[in-house]
Amino acid sequence: MRCTAYTTQLPRPARLSDVMTTATPPPVSPEDWHAVSRRLTDGLRYVDAGMRPGAPIRLGAFDLRAVTPSTGFPAQGAGGFRWTARRARRALSLPAVRACLTHDALHPAVAVAAEERRLKARALAGAPAGSLARWLARCDAPTRAVARAEATCWATHLWQALDWRALGTVPAVGEPDQWWDWPGSSANAPLALRGRADLRWHLERSAPGDAQAPATAVALFSLLGGLPRPTSDVELGLAALVGGLLQPDAPPAMRVGGLWPSCGRAVVLDVDLTLLHAVVDAVLGATARASQRA
């Protein structure tokens, strides 16, 4: 697991794009993926044996943070999800960055305003209850302004994070989260693992056997709030693991990166066996904690 953190070299977007795309590592072989998958499922069976029936567990990157129950591990589904201006920033900003990439908008501030208008129109056309469109249509103008301000800030950070032309291809921005489901046993709880990345794009690397036909792999990148944590590596690696488990025959994620714009730090990791096993360990630990709470 090679980790690259950068802080000083300017311009940073060019440097980060360079680190994300060049010197791609050898991919994890299908046999190794199979071994990782088997280790995860074997581990889950072991954890599963201690679970109480009827408590489905959903785990995302946030849940991999090693927080003990005494320090306030968030209870699953406690209070339910509720949109706020802060929570709306990712959902508003990713389409805005996509619009900038496709030249539908020139700047993030304009693109976020356009996205807000689009969602309001969607709400009028009958968006489902609980959707962002419905929330935006219902909240007052000042709250919407705060949401737009937060989203503009987030979108601008993402837009300025990378040198987009240096990526070699146009990334997919804000694709739906990927879910890997573990059915559990008849008496025990099912588990769903969520893989989330803001950007996903194909890296080209020379295939070992054929220099003429470049094989493709995937790079994943996310913008993150706050400060990096000791668990940031596995949080970033979870999206690669889920993608690999869901689509074993698809091009694997070879590199994952994250940028914390609040502190200007970035972490770029090669997806290798060390990282994948670390993610499996973190998932098993989080599952055990969640089953104890259930």
Partner: protein
């Protein structure tokens, strides 16, 4: 944001833009300042007890530490402080959408959406006549603010309420600030950003706060901002100046002195 560019607004915009000359950039400055901070606070940070980690240092904490008053005194809400926060919320709304409706209702909604804090409780506790007076002052501030604040071009990449954290000593100490407005693209060969804080009226501590924020932005983005200033909502004017390296160095010394004091064990009577 569709707002006509009056002469007053044009002045503010010109002040934010500054001279067109490119300011030289020392690419090693940000790294050097950071190392200086790390070296300066390391020993003090190692004495910080585990239950006080991370020590989060804001501009206010810094001022209190340097003023030899207790940095842990809880903030008390006053009418002036409430007006500052409500005016700041109005400014953000105008900055983002270009318009504001009823200043009192809008600012209260925005504050509730952004940072509930204890302001709502304070406002509810006010007598009716005090609240009416506060509303009148806020309306006056809103008029001044609306008359002066220009539409910010989208290609300046405006970001409002941009949070900055600088972890030091392995995360034992975190310098933190919220930059009310940041303009500009990431620095490359020249200084490119402008940092603005929003206050109601001029005060003796605003320059120190601004220097602290400029230092944090320097460390975060890898280069000093080109300009830094304060916009006063009650007067509707702006004070902006170029950021010079000597001021940043002086601020580093102040931060080291303050963090050293804050890390010291509390005095026993």
């Amino acid at each position: 944001v569709n707002r006509p560019l009056t002469a007053r607004r044009r002045q503010v915009l010109a002040a934010l833009r500054g001279e067109t000359n490119r300011l030289p950039l020392d690419p090693s400055l940000a790294g050097g300042l950071r190392e200086w901070l790390e070296d300066g606070i390391w020993e003090a940070a190692t004495r910080l007890p585990a239950d006080r980690r991370p020590l989060v240092v804001h501009a206010g904490t810094l001022r209190a530490a340097l003023g030899d008053s207790s940095p842990l005194t809880p903030v008390e809400w006053t009418a002036g402080r409430a007006l500052g926060v409500l005016g700041g919320a109005l400014w953000r709304q105008i900055c983002v959408t270009g318009r504001v409706g009823d200043p009192w209702a809008d600012s209260c909604s925005a504050v509730r959406a952004h940072a509930p804090g204890g302001l709502g409780t304070f406002l509810c506790s006010l007598q009716v006549d005090r609240r009416t007076e506060l509303q009148a002052r806020l309306r006056a501030d809103a008029r001044a603010l609306d008359a002066a604040w220009p539409p910010i071009p989208a290609h300046w990449h405006p970001r409002t309420s941009d949070r900055v954290y600088v972890p030091l000593a392995g995360g034992a100490v975190v310098l933190a600030a919220t930059l009310d407005l940041v303009l500009g693209a990431p620095p490359a060969g020249a200084r490119s950003t402008c940092v603005l804080q929003v206050r109601r009226t001029p005060g003796p501590v605003h320059r120190a706060d601004l220097r602290f924020k400029a230092l944090l932005e320097t460390i975060r983005s890898g280069a000093p901002p080109r300009r830094a200033g304060t916009f006063y909502t009650a007067r509707g004017d702006v004070e902006v100046a170029d950021v010079d390296d000597a001021t940043l160095a002086e601020t580093v010394q102040q931060v080291i002195a303050a963090v050293t004091r804050l890390c010291a064990p509390p005095r026993t009577p």
